[in-house]
């Protein structure tokens, strides 16, 4: 026996353990239905592997772990999967959660479950995986998946293994009975854990009120090759808390916010140890556990070996509950357990005790009275916190301060509330504060996440905008360049002294004619110079000039011929656009000439006749050009019309037109308000005209729409479009209805109602068309 240390505080509540240790562990009767919650611990819920209606055998895995912190789930007996869905689970909230419901067939037929022949030959990883596949989870408190704890040897140096057999909470005797009856299983489990973690020292911490269990353990450990110490600790609540037991056995304190492995210690519950033994040696997954059923409201308090998923009602029945005396049903111990409202809640891997209490045993909590600052809570706190300070902070919702006073180190043992003379439910306050802080932190995390996403989106939008801008700029530059190029081309064309003609050789001819003319001019100049100076061979020069003149004339003639020849060709060539431009140019020229003429006439300038003549010729030309254009257009039109389909009405354009009309009309109406007097009648007339046009356009649009709907209906092609239209119409109706419900002004209401009626009509119509054309 080694030295035993002490921890601060602690209480000595009445033990109430004797009642349930009088009889040996009894196997609970097989329940008709088993409810297996998918999540029995922190971490991820298991994912179901079976479907409703499947037949499962005892020990078959029915849900597999998801992620690192998760435990597998096995069928506790053979039967059929009845359903997978919400069912009340053992949780303080009393809420429902997803459960697999198995209807047992009464045969309790095992699936093949080979154990490992020699686990020492196995790789540690494979052995841990086997334990994980067997769904072993901590059976003492939080139900933490055991395989995670067994991996601790990988990144921590574990020198001490502590087996928690303290079972300090009143009423509970499940571990006590296990040690009394199945000590060899516990030893087997310790061997496996010790093989995995290789600790130098193993300690079993047990309270001195379990002398029978201590005796059994000692006899089993006799001659054991492992370095195992049984450390008997004085009975004091909560010595079974992991950190408290570590302090009791080693004198070391686990630092706040750290785990025991950080100081080289791993703690396992005796129940878990036995479960590991059964999983490794017999391949039995964790499908049953020992549950203490006790309390004054049961006739035979005892420990039952119950299947996981057994409803509390079945266990209470097995222990002969007095229904009339039952006042309160508690899951867990009287200090840390929670009251449950429902007796169909199932046993899970961490359910160590069910207390059916009478009203005398657990009376309703007395009313909370003001804190008198007596400091008793501080004296019993095993974590050396300041309970009353935390109480004030929780009550005043000063959660930040509570956190700074190490609220999260509170193990919710209930010692402070037990000693409180004012019966303040202190633990409730701490639980409330903790969950508020957790929610706040979760919300903060979510808000930060949302901010990140929002900022990422903003950055993306900005980037897209910039890219768009850059593209737009590039396009504009391109267009500018193209324009420049076109302009240059035009200059060149005018330099060659004519508008571009379709035939290429005309251009060549033109150049030739121009060259000839230039040559002629040069020759003439030379002749002139010679004449003036009276020098050189005048005759030769004259001949040359004449020759040049002839060739120039020839070139000019050829050009003219080609031009006239190509002109009709162009007209028939259906280059309507060019003709249009030509006509426009002619008209502009004519206009300019006319302006010039008028100017000249006004000023009485000379050369009026000449100008007049120009104007007349221009007029003729313009008329010709116009005519040519119109002819060509007509020809082109007649050529095109028969080719194209009966033109689909351009709904969009029509709609746009209607809306433009409407805006115009509105503007005009607005303008009318301001105008007065004579101008008013005029404006009114204009308005009337506008209105007429608007109605016409509207009519045209509606007719087109009708036609379109009819056409679509007739062809029955665009069902999808029709559906969308119908949905849009319906949405419009609901929106209008909502708007109508909101508005209160009578005038607005009437207009809204009218709109609503039309919208309804439309929706109805569309719906009917849709119905007609929907495939039967």
């Amino acid at each position: 026996m080694g030295k035993v240390f002490a921890f601060h505080g602690g209480i000595h509540p009445p033990e109430n353990k004797k009642q349930s240790t009088r009889t040996p562990i009894r196997t609970a009767p097989l329940p008709k239905q088993l409810y297996l919650p998918l999540q029995q611990h922190i971490g991820m819920a298991a994912s179901p592997l079976v479907n409703v209606g499947d037949r499962v055998l005892k020990g078959q895995m029915i849900a597999e772990p998801v992620g690192r912190i998760s435990a597998a789930l096995h069928a506790p007996t053979s039967g059929t999967i009845r359903s997978i869905g919400p069912h009340p689970v053992p949780h303080a909230s009393g809420l429902e959660s997803d459960c697999i419901v198995i209807e047992s067939d009464g045969q309790d037929e095992w699936i093949e479950h080979p154990g490992l022949e020699d686990f020492t030959q196995l790789e540690p990883g494979a052995l841990i995986e086997h334990i994980r596949r067997c769904g072993i989870a901590g059976m003492g408190g939080a139900g933490f998946p055991t395989d995670v704890k067994l991996h601790l040897g990988d990144d921590h140096i574990v020198n001490t293994l502590i087996i928690n057999a303290a079972e300090c909470e009143p009423y509970i005797t499940a571990d006590d009975m296990l040690m009394r009856e199945r000590a060899h299983e516990i030893l087997g489990g310790i061997r496996i854990i010790s093989h995995l973690l290789k600790p130098s020292h193993i300690m079993i911490g047990i309270e001195d009120n379990k002398s029978h269990a201590i005796h059994t353990l000692e006899s089993v450990l006799k001659g054991c090759d492992l370095n195992i110490d049984i450390r008997v600790v004085p009975t004091k609540y909560p010595s079974g808390g992991e950190r408290q037991l570590i302090q009791l056995l080693t004198g070391l304190e686990v630092p706040s916010g750290r785990i025991p492995a950080d100081i080289g210690i791993v703690c396992q519950n005796v129940g878990t140890t036995a479960a590991i033994y059964r999983a490794v040696h017999f391949g039995e997954p964790l499908i049953s556990r020992i549950v203490t059923v006790t309390g004054d409201a049961v006739a035979q308090p005892q420990n039952l070996d119950a299947l996981i998923g057994t409803p509390f009602a079945d266990l209470l029945e097995a222990a002969h509950v007095y229904e009339n005396k039952l006042y309160r049903l508690v899951m867990g111990g009287p200090m840390m357990g929670v009251t449950v409202e429902h007796d169909q809640i199932p046993v899970i891997k961490t359910t160590n005790c069910i207390i059916a209490a009478t009203v005398d045993e657990m009376p309703p909590a007395p009313p909370e009275q003001p804190c008198i600052r007596c400091n008793m809570c501080e004296q019993v706190c095993p974590v050396t916190l300041l309970p009353q300070q935390l109480y004030w902070f929780a009550k005043g919702r000063e959660f930040d301060k509570a956190k700074h006073h190490n609220l999260f180190d509170c193990i919710e043992c209930g010692a402070c509330a037990y000693v409180c003379p004012s019966s303040i439910p202190l633990v409730q306050y701490y639980r409330f504060a903790k969950s508020e802080i957790r929610t706040e932190e979760a919300e903060q995390r979510k808000a930060d996440h949302a901010r990140e996403r929002f900022e990422a989106r903003q950055a993306r939008l900005e980037r897209e905008q910039e890219e768009k801008e850059a593209r737009r700029k590039a396009r504009a530059e391109e267009a500018a360049r193209a324009q420049q190029a076109r302009k240059n081309g035009e200059v060149v064309a005018t330099a060659t002294a004519a508008a571009a003609e379709p035939a290429a050789d005309i251009n060549a001819l033109k150049t030739a004619a121009a060259v000839a003319r230039t040559k002629l001019k040069k020759a003439q100049k030379a002749l002139e110079a010679a004449r003036n100076s009276g020098e050189g061979d005048l005759q030769a020069l004259e001949a040359a000039v004449q020759a040049t003149q002839a060739s120039s004339d020839q070139a000019q003639q050829a050009l003219e011929k080609a031009s006239t020849g190509s002109a009709p060709a162009t007209a028939t060539g259906a280059d309507v656009k060019q003709l249009k431009t030509a006509a426009a140019v002619a008209r502009t020229k004519l206009k300019k000439a006319r302006d010039a003429l008028k100017n000249a006439e006004d000023k009485g300038l000379e050369g009026l006749d000449k100008l007049r003549a120009t104007v007349t010729t221009l007029e003729q030309k313009a008329d010709e050009a116009d005519k040519a254009y119109k002819d060509a257009e007509a020809a082109a039109g007649s050529a095109e019309t028969p080719m194209s389909q009966p033109a689909p009405v351009d709904m969009k354009a029509l709609k746009q037109q209607v809306s433009i009309m409407r805006t115009k009309l509105k503007k005009a109406e607005a303008a009318l308000e301001e105008v007065e007097g004579d101008a008013r009648t005029q404006a009114e007339q204009a308005l009337e005209a506008l209105r007429q046009r608007h109605t016409e356009a509207d009519k045209a649009f509606k007719a087109a729409e009708q036609a379109q709907i009819a056409a679509a209906a007739a062809q029955g092609v665009d069902l999808k479009q029709l559906k969308i239209d119908a949905a849009l119409a319906r949405a419009a109706v609901t929106k209008l209805e909502r708007a109508l419900a909101k508005t209160e002004e009578a005038q607005e209401r009437t207009s809204l109602e009218a709109e609503l009626a039309t919208a309804r009509d439309k929706a109805e119509q569309l719906n009917q068309t849709l119905k007609q054309h929907e495939p039967a």
Partner: protein, 199 residues
């Protein structure tokens, strides 16, 4: 006389030296941006819903830093107002009803049969929590949704619902202990007894 002049000169000299040091420090250790805006922004719920009248939480944070009221954020509710009041050392005021009321947390849900794939909600979502493409069904990634309901209005077929977040075991909170009965009459304040009688 000389002592007075010496003292004045020394003080003047000190003033110049410190002035130079301070001037240098104000340039060298200049803080980029306004740090209070970041702190305010960290307290806002980041739903980006725009109910405060600003286009997002950060613009509102900037507005608060410039003296706007702190009670314009309905999604944050009273707790956010209190946190802001704490940070800015001003009086906590009740939520301004003009900008909406504090409501239970919701999450958007698209009735997928009715969605026509118009992408309007996708463009409206400030946190990119809606998935879909043109003419394809859209759906909300509920874990990313902030419940700002900005997607509801643009939907042409009205197929988006705001569903209150369900309480599950994962997000259940321990309730606050029932308000203690104050057995001592003086604890209840002077008017309490008379009020009880009146009722």
């Amino acid at each position: 006389m000389t002592t007075v002049i010496t003292a004045i000169l020394i003080l003047f000299g000190l003033a110049v030296v410190f002035g130079i040091i301070l001037g240098y420090a104000s340039i060298r250790f200049r803080v980029e941006g306004n740090p209070i805006v970041d702190q305010i922004d960290a307290l806002l719920p980041q739903t980006q819903c725009g109910q405060c009248g600003y286009p997002g939480c950060r613009p509102y944070a900037e507005a608060i830093a410039n003296g706007d009221a702190i009670n314009k954020c309905p999604p944050g509710g009273q707790s956010t107002i209190e946190a802001l009041a704490d940070l800015l050392d001003v009086e906590a005021v009740p939520l301004d009803a003009e900008h909406g009321e504090e409501q239970a947390k919701t999450v958007a849900f698209i009735r997928e049969d009715e969605c026509i794939g118009c992408t309007k909600c996708i463009q409206a979502c400030p946190v990119d929590a809606i998935l879909g493409a043109a003419k394809q069904m859209h759906t909300v990634i509920s874990s990313e949704c902030t419940g700002c309901d900005l997607c509801v209005e643009p939907c042409p077929v009205d197929c988006i619902d705001m569903i209150p977040v369900e309480t599950t075991i994962a997000n259940w909170k321990w309730p606050a202990p029932a308000e203690s009965r104050n057995l001592i009459a003086t604890d209840r304040g002077r008017g309490a007894l008379q009020q009880q009688e009146a009722h």
